[in-house]
Symmetry: C2
Subunit: 107 residues, 2 copies
C-alpha cells in the first residue's frame, strides 16, 4: 500500500491538535497534523532528527530557532537537528500540515 | 533560514524533469520536482532509503512496486526501502511534486 490521499485522511480533535499517522519506516515518518483554532504543537527540539512542516490548508504560526512566521498553504518550515520548532493555529479556521521527520524515533 | 515557499521555488526545464533542492540534512532531503508534459523520473529503487512523493499541482502517473496510479494534488505515494518507484507526467499540463527522501545519500 504505497498510495494515499492526504486530504481524505484529515481528522480533527476538540481537545488537542490531532496527529494522523500516514506512513513510517525506520528512515522517516509522515503525519498529517490537523489543528483547530487555538491548537498547537509546543516548541521543542530533537537532537538527532530533522523535521519539516508543509502547510496544506489554512494558516499557522511556526517557530524555528529564534524566528516565528505566519505560514500559509505552500509554505514550508524545517528544523535541523537541535533546532527548536513548534506550530500554533492563531487563525479562526482549521489548518492542516504535512509533517515529515527522519529518522523515525518510533521504529 | 528555516522557511521557504515551495510554489515560489518552481523551475521547469525543457530537456528533462527539473529537481529543485529545497533543503537537506544528513537525515533527509526535500526537493521539488517540476515536470513538463512527457517528463519523468525513471523507475528505480534505493536499498537503504525511504522516499515520498506528494503531488502539489497537476497530475502524475506514479509507480510503486507493482502498482501504477494516476495521482493528483493531495495524493501521496511512498516507497519503502528496496521498493521500485518512479513518476511520469502523462498529462498535457505541468506538474509539481514535493519529494522527501531519507536518509540523505548526498550528505
Amino acid at each position: 500500500m504505497g498510495f494515499l490521499n492526504v486530504h481524505a485522511r484529515a481528522e480533527f480533535g476538540s481537545d488537542k491538535m490531532k496527529k494522523v499517522a500516514l506512513f513510517g519506516t525506520e528512515h522517516l515518518f509522515c503525519d498529517q497534523y490537523c489543528l483547530e483554532p487555538g491548537q498547537s504543537q509546543k516548541v521543542h527540539a530533537h537532537d538527532s532528527a530533522t523535521k519539516l512542516y508543509y502547510v496544506l490548508d489554512g494558516a499557522i504560526e511556526a517557530t524555528v530557532g529564534e524566528e516565528t512566521r505566519t505560514l500559509q498553504a505552500g509554505d514550508l518550515a524545517f528544523a535541523e537537528p537541535g533546532k527548536i520548532h513548534g506550530i500554533t493555529n492563531r487563525s479562526n479556521a482549521r489548518a492542516r500540515v504535512l509533517v515529515v521527520m527522519g529518522p523515525n524515533p518510533n521504529l
